[in-house]
């Protein structure tokens, strides 16, 4: 639904150059919720703003719903008619809501329809329908200043949906909201994704957002996507930074000559027999440092951090045994360091 190839963005200001995007290949499938996560300055906002060409990419292409937007852009800095039409089919919600304070809630939602040249009757019918959908039917005549943050964002979402977009872009839509409100807004996005078949590309720096609603995710660092995939793929990727950030287990090695192993169970893999089998078969003492079960992207996942006596070299055989059981094994300190960046 959204594809970018070799997307780069270089900002030039007063002779200085900042490469915000450095060859980004993004692929968002139709109907999925795709989360992009990364530290501040990683280029997330630049990426999402390039998707509807609010920011002109320096090079590379952006295709949304089969339409090459970069080809529509033209050379001048101003957006031509075709690009503006394409934009009207892509909804966008913002961190600071960006509602017009001079207009009522209903008039804010009608704005995209005015731009599309719809009649007054059609506009108000559609606006009221959307306000109903986001649960704000009773606030149609209120002004944005009279609403709470969560309500404002609901208006922002209703407005973004007014042009019947297939794609919704969200740049930190919940970052200005408290945790409770964040949950309800995320739930709303999830519902809209399911009900309307809406493809959602969202930017966030909160792991919890990815955890609760994303089907797929990408991790950005220094203008590049360093990891991406569906959440279940990521969780099944040994050493995945995203996976360990999505689902961290704590626990430190109790001594130098110990090997710490993270065992990840998907679905119904039973935990106990494997550990006790391991213990019996190799006659070793296993201590459990930490364990958790969680739902990530709608999947039940369990993770356990265990400690085996002896160094890694001494434990190659038991670890091989665990791998043979079909479990995902990450040896802490052996494979890429498990960063928990961005997880709050």
């Amino acid at each position: 639904m959204i594809t970018t190839t070799g997307l780069t963005k270089v900002y030039r200001s007063r002779g200085r150059e900042v490469t915000a995007l450095d060859g980004v290949d993004l692929h968002v499938r139709e109907g999925e919720v795709y989360g992009v996560i990364g530290q501040s300055g990683a280029g997330k906002s630049s990426l999402i703003r390039c998707v509807n060409l609010l920011e002109r990419p320096t090079s590379g292409t952006v295709t949304v719903a089969g339409q090459d937007l970069t080809a529509l852009a033209g050379r001048g800095p101003r957006a031509g008619k075709e690009l503006r039409q394409a934009r009207s089919r892509i909804g966008m919600v913002f961190q600071h809501f960006n509602l017009l304070s001079s207009r009522t809630v209903q008039d804010n939602v009608e704005l995209p329809l005015e731009i599309l040249g719809k009649s007054g009757k059609e506009r108000s019918r559609k606006a009221l329908e959307l306000l109903d959908l986001v649960g704000l039917a009773d606030k149609a005549k209120a002004y944005p200043a009279q609403l709470s943050g969560g309500q404002k964002q609901r208006v922002g979402i209703a407005r973004a949906l007014a042009g019947d977009p297939k794609v919704l872009l969200s740049d930190e839509a919940t970052s200005a909201l408290d945790p409770e409100t964040t949950r309800s807004i995320l739930q709303l996005l999830r519902d809209l994704n399911r009900q309307l078949g809406l493809t959602v590309l969202l930017i966030t720096h909160e792991m919890d957002v990815v955890k609760s609603i994303c089907d797929s995710a990408a991790l950005m660092e220094n203008g590049r996507i360093v990891e991406s995939g569906t959440v279940s793929e990521l969780l099944a990727t040994p050493g995945s930074q995203l996976a360990s950030a999505l689902f961290p287990v704590a626990g430190e090695a109790t001594g130098d000559d110990r090997t710490v192993v993270d065992v990840t169970f998907h679905g119904e893999a039973a935990t106990q027999p494997v550990i006790s089998q391991l213990s019996r078969t190799y006659n070793i003492d296993i201590s459990i440092l930490g364990a958790a079960i969680d739902t990530v992207g709608g999947l039940q996942v369990g993770r356990m951090r265990i400690e085996l006596p002896g160094r890694y070299e001494d434990n190659v055989v038991p670890i091989g045994f665990l791998r043979e059981q079909g479990l995902q094994i990450d040896v802490v300190g052996q494979e890429p360091v498990l960063l928990v960046e961005g997880a709050k």
């Binding site: 920011e55 009207s88 509602l99 017009l100 001079s102 995209p112 731009i115 944005p144």
Partner: protein, 234 residues
């Protein structure tokens, strides 16, 4: 001078002032609003970025604004005659008043429009709105309270300038104060004029503040004010 002598003088003067200030305000708003908006749009990073046009407009506005009104009035005489056919009287005074007020109001408009949150511009761009849509639906309505305050300031300034216009026989309250108060020592008449001016100015200020505030009341900001971004061309 008796009240029956003063009263027709005063009412004529009030009417003259109202006439001059009314028309020149109207022209100043019609001319200054687009000029002020253009100053924002053509600026670096603006929606219609055009550095040369911006510099030229900015310079013209600066020169016109810093010109003392009395000099502007004299300098514009030929132009005034060309427009109104005379250089004396109320109509003739309107020309330099309006031309002096256009750049004055334009700068006020510029300041007001710059204060509009760039995020709103971006939101309308993301809906597929063009520059004209952005001007009509975002820049003007969102800065309206501030534009009204600017109009009030312009009216008050124009009442001041219109006193000087009395020197070209345009009449008005300022003219009375000078002719009777200063030249003929009709102190009483002068104080009445001053009182009328004070009341008129207070009324205008009050009405302007009230209008601006009642518009503000419904709005305020749409979110925690984000850092002001320059309007970008996209």
């Amino acid at each position: 001078m008796s009240w029956s002598e003063m009263s027709p003088l005063l009412s004529q003067a009030c009417w003259d002032t109202l006439y001059m200030v009314g028309w020149s305000t109207l022209i100043a708003v019609v001319g200054g609003l687009p000029l002020g908006i253009l100053l924002v749009l053509t600026d670096r990073g603006g929606l219609l970025q055009n550095v040369v046009a911006n510099k030229v407009l900015g310079q013209v506005v600066n020169v016109a604004r810093s010109m003392p009104f009395i000099i502007l009035m004299v300098a514009l005489m030929t132009f005034t005659r060309w427009i109104t056919g005379t250089t004396i009287g109320r109509e003739a005074a309107i020309v330099p008043l309006a031309i002096g007020a256009i750049p004055f109001f334009a700068r006020l408009v510029e300041t007001s429009v710059r204060e509009v949150d760039g995020g709103l511009v971006e939101a309308v761009q993301s809906m597929g709105g063009n520059t004209w849509t952005i001007v009509r639906k975002v820049l003007v309505p969102e800065s309206l309270p501030s534009l009204i305050a600017g109009t009030t300031t312009t009216i008050v300034a124009l009442i001041g300038y219109s006193a000087m216009a009395g020197t070209v026989g345009a009449g008005g309250l300022g003219d009375i104060a000078i002719r009777y108060g200063y030249q003929r020592f009709e102190t009483e008449l002068m104080w009445i004029t001053v009182a009328i001016l004070a009341v008129v100015i207070s009324l205008i200020q009050f009405a302007g503040d009230f209008a601006a505030r009642s518009l503000h009341g419904r709005g305020g900001r749409s979110g925690p004010a984000p850092k002001l971004r320059l309007l970008k061309a996209k």
